[in-house]
């Protein structure tokens, strides 16, 4: 059995239908993290649909998404790209030893004012 993550597995996790996309590009156009990403929200939709999962799993974009739901809100076809990005991120961090950040990384990133919300959310987004 191959441990390769399939398109079907990604779509099972997030329940998104990338086929609905009409390629207007609004998701990437409105993404506040666009400049930080290598693959952009509209590319996630296209690449998942075409089974190019490994490239997305190796991408830094999955840690740059701000979960601000701008792409999801503004998509005229209700494709919900944010859910696809999260599903790819989960497909990575659910693997053994593939956490992007752990509690051991936190002390070095702290400052006096950093709210608990930031720490809790990083553990939820980047670690299993």
């Amino acid at each position: 059995m191959s441990d390769k993550i399939t398109k079907e597995e990604i779509l099972r996790i997030c329940n998104v239908q990338p086929k609905k996309c009409m390629k207007c590009g609004k998701c990437s156009g409105t993404c506040p993290a666009y400049d930080e990403m290598d693959y952009h929200p509209h590319q996630f939709v296209y690449m998942v649909e075409h089974g190019q999962i490994e490239k997305l799993m190796a991408s830094q974009s999955i840690y740059k998404c701000l979960s601000c739901f701008a792409c999801l809100e503004r998509c005229p076809r209700n494709v919900e790209p944010a859910k696809l990005i999260e599903a790819v991120r989960l497909a990575v961090i659910r693997q053994q030893g593939k956490n992007h950040m752990t509690e051991n990384d936190v002390p070095a990133l702290l400052d006096e004012e950093l709210p608990q919300q930031a720490i809790v959310s990083s553990m939820r987004k980047y670690k299993k």
């Binding site: 400049d35 701000l66 809100e73 999260e86 989960l90 950093l114 709210p115 959310s121 939820r124």
Partner: protein
């Protein structure tokens, strides 16, 4: 009206002001907040994946505690509000999630999304009413130009959050008018501040923050208000030297209600 109140982790620590001013102002307005016993952190990020069950449980426990008391659940932190409101929607609309959550929790009666979830601002708008609030204001902030910063979590996705018009919201501007100040409309008020990047990529967060301050400043704002501890941190700590001051909306509410003077006179 009595609410089951969910303060959340940050309001017990770095955002004590958001909580304290909120509680004191609510009491002055005749709104009773009963803190939920043994509430657990909501996790701060809504689990978008439909196969995530464990990460939804703390929200359901709080929602069920409110249900058992027959009270609406009131939130104040934008992130708690976002997570709890969306998990509640899942429990009401997603049979698979509902079944798995209830199988795990084994409550006396299964939880099915019955609790009404309200943000403090919604309570002010829908329960107290901004007209009533206006009459209760003792120190109107006359002439102060204030930029309402919504950010992302309160508004989106609008189909679930039902908080306000996601692209042209007005609830915080109406709040600003009620306390006698002047709201300033600016383009970045409902765009993300980049708070989630603040730990790993400070530069990216700083760029986002500067766009927001710049947009508010150019519109003539003297002050930005928010309901989110992470936005507060990010807009302040990652702002440049000419950044605008950032306050929690509850602090302004507290001052407008004249509670500071009332305290000093005791």
């Amino acid at each position: 009206m009595t609410y089951s109140y969910f303060p959340g982790c940050t309001l017990k620590n770095k955002a004590k002001d958001l909580d304290r001013y909120g509680r004191l102002s609510a009491a002055a307005l005749g709104v009773e907040l009963e803190e939920i016993e043994e509430w657990q952190c909501c996790g701060a990020v809504y689990p978008q994946a439909s196969d995530e069950i464990a990460t939804r449980l703390s929200s359901v426990r709080a929602l069920n505690a409110a249900k058992e008391k027959g009270q609406p659940l009131l939130t104040l932190c934008s992130a708690c509000h976002h997570v709890i409101k969306r998990v509640n929607h899942d429990l009401a609309t997603n049979a698979d999630i509902r079944t798995k959550v209830n199988n795990y929790l084994e409550l006396d009666t299964p939880y099915q999304g019955e609790t009404k979830v309200l943000h403090y601002l919604e309570m002010l708008r829908d329960e107290v009413g901004f007209d009533t609030l206006k009459k209760a204001v003792k120190n109107p902030m006359k002439g102060t130009k204030i930029a309402a910063y919504y950010g992302c979590l309160l508004l989106r996705p609008s189909g679930v959050m039902s908080f306000d018009d996601p692209e042209n919201p007005s609830i915080i501007e109406d709040f600003i008018r009620a306390i006698g100040a002047e709201p300033v409309i600016y383009s970045q008020r409902n765009e993300c501040c980049g708070g989630y990047m603040a730990m790993e990529d400070k530069g990216a967060a700083q760029d986002r923050v500067e766009k927001i301050h710049d947009s508010a400043r150019k519109a003539g704002a003297e002050l930005i208000i928010t309901a989110c501890p992470l936005c507060m941190y990010n807009l302040d700590v990652n702002g440049k030297e000419n950044k605008l001051p950032v306050k929690y909306f509850t602090e302004l509410l507290y001052r407008a209600l004249g509670l500071e003077e009332a305290k000093d006179n005791v």
